[in-house]
Symmetry: C2
């Protein structure tokens, strides 16, 4: 085991690494020395390229499926590529405008935005997309409403700050008219406005039996909403992923589906993205996530600073088009954040 003399990569060496990776991303087959010379009209001989490749392999940027195949990038190679070689290209203006337009048509509805974001990401980045519902600080009550459905059944509607609305049916022990319900709702609003779940629970002793029941239901719904925060996941474009050549073997395909159906891994990943913020590129699980060994994630946080945050991103094979994914994810995250800041601004 000999230690390489220098880890400085020459420009030519970088070029070769870049070309190998680009070519491998394009074709999904190992790249030989002759191939990249011809494809990119380099005026150095295959032998030289081979030397450089051997150098890159010694340092772990490339690898060899077997003696006489071309080179394939390693995770380290991809990482170097996305960090140093890829360059930043923004989404073309036309594309930005189209996407922006789609979102503005979607009528200020968080749920629709998330669905749309998943669809846009999947389509533009040609991968599987993933959008989590945003998590906010413990919610405070804005308004409750009681609406009679029929004599012994009422609808309880909860409005939280940040425009979240949730409803639930409430069975009444004795029939009540809409007028009675409205009167009670008005009273409760007066008492509860601006309080969080714990504070509302504290007011319960001393209320009438029916008000107490409403209060219980409200607390319960708020607790659920806070717990369910950030747990909803919107997906799209699974097919894009499964039709990639690396997933022709059913076992890999199944792993992907399992990854997306089971929540644990995604949850762990998302919570990390939420913590660290910015745009994260996770390549092949980075040694820490066994189940992500064959895929890469491009994930970003979106939301409003200090108030609410979710994660969105794209899942692709290791040889995904990182440049495209990064630009789309960044743009959509920014767009969603802008849209939401309207709802959350005080």
């Amino acid at each position: 085991m000999e230690i390489p003399e220098s880890d400085e990569m020459t420009p030519r060496c970088q070029t070769i690494l870049r070309l190998v990776i680009s070519e491998y991303i394009r074709t999904a087959t190992p790249v030989g020395s002759k191939a990249i010379r011809e494809l990119y009209h380099l005026d150095i001989s295959p032998a030289t390229i081979r030397n450089e490749m051997a150098w890159l392999e010694e340092r772990g940027y490339l690898t060899h499926p077997h003696t006489s195949a071309g080179r394939v990038p390693t995770e380290k190679g991809y990482r170097y590529f996305v960090e140093k070689l890829m360059g930043e290209n923004d989404l073309p203006t036309a594309e930005r405008r189209t996407i922006s337009h789609q979102f503005h048509q979607a009528q200020l509805d968080m749920e629709q935005w998330m669905r749309l974001a998943a669809a846009v990401l999947a389509h533009r980045a040609r991968g599987a997309a993933l959008v989590t519902s945003p998590k906010s600080a413990p919610s405070c009550l804005k308004h409750v409403e009681l609406i009679s459905i029929r004599d012994t059944l009422a609808l309880l509607i909860l409005v939280l700050y940040a425009g979240v609305v949730k409803q639930q049916v409430l069975a009444l022990s004795t029939p009540m008219t809409q007028e009675e319900l409205s009167r009670i709702a008005a009273m409760l609003n007066h008492r509860w406005e601006g309080l969080n779940e714990a504070a509302i629970a504290a007011t319960l002793p001393g209320l009438s039996e029916f008000e107490h029941r409403v209060g219980d239901a409200v607390c319960d719904m708020m607790r659920r909403l806070d717990a369910r925060n950030a747990t909803e996941i919107y997906r799209d474009g699974l097919l894009n992923l499964l039709s990639q050549p690396e997933f022709v073997h059913s076992t890999s395909a199944q792993q992907i589906v399992r990854l997306l159906e089971e929540r644990q891994i995604i949850d762990a990943l998302v919570s990390e993205v939420l913590q660290r913020g910015g745009l994260q590129i996770i390549i092949g699980g980075e040694g820490r996530w066994q189940d992500l060994a064959e895929v890469s994630f491009v994930l970003a946080r979106y939301g409003v600073e200090d108030q609410v945050a979710g994660a969105l991103g794209v899942l692709g094979p290791l040889r995904m088009r990182y440049d495209r994914a990064v630009s789309v994810v960044r743009f959509v995250a920014q767009l969603m954040s802008d849209l939401m800041s309207n709802l959350y601004g005080r």
Copy 2:
């Protein structure tokens, strides 16, 4: 081409067909004459069984992958099986109770019910589950509410008969207080209660500018809700399906994913189920659906008679456990219908 003399199936012949199908469902490999004799301790010889099998094959109930493999059921064979041979077994009481309990815990929320239904179906029938949101007759307005978010932003909440709630943010051209908004909402409620979208649209001329805007938004939301009716699909358990041996080849797996991601085929299927009602078993596309050639559906309508209806069911390989699927689908459909009749009863 000789015409078979009699199409009456003898009891013994039925037994053999039943055993072949059961065995094939269990093992996913062609079933030989010797195998079923030994497995089920029949005291007839393999040769006799072969004769019966040949008879069944002549009439299209069984087929042959190649000369020296065992028999495999055809679509016609499966159909005969589910109609005549399978028998009706209800879900065990314990299982019914567990499922019922899960649903009653889910707090009277349609969305949660659908999600839960998908999870239960997928898990109990070991297949991919599919639940569409119910479609109801054109909706009538029950109540509107306007809630101030901040000076120039309000939340418009719509309650329809049947307990559907939908909200949207409304940007105000001039700042308004909660009192003003409440006053306007009360007036609009008085005017619009019980009307459908067209009727509300008719009242718009003559309203103030702001009321007009609210009316536009309400109509728009109602139109969207009616259009989006029955278009939401909840899925679960895709992995159950993809791990079946018939889907080891990536192309079949991809077809399944495409089937579930693209909407057209499912939509067509669902609308047929909604029309015909009851419980439908679609085996291998029945010649009409090319894309369903390799799968079977067990689907049922759920909802409240004449008021609201959706479809739910299970997707499995041709050799799915039809008995189990049928009993689970029937039970869950009934349960959902019962739960909903509470919401929709007048």
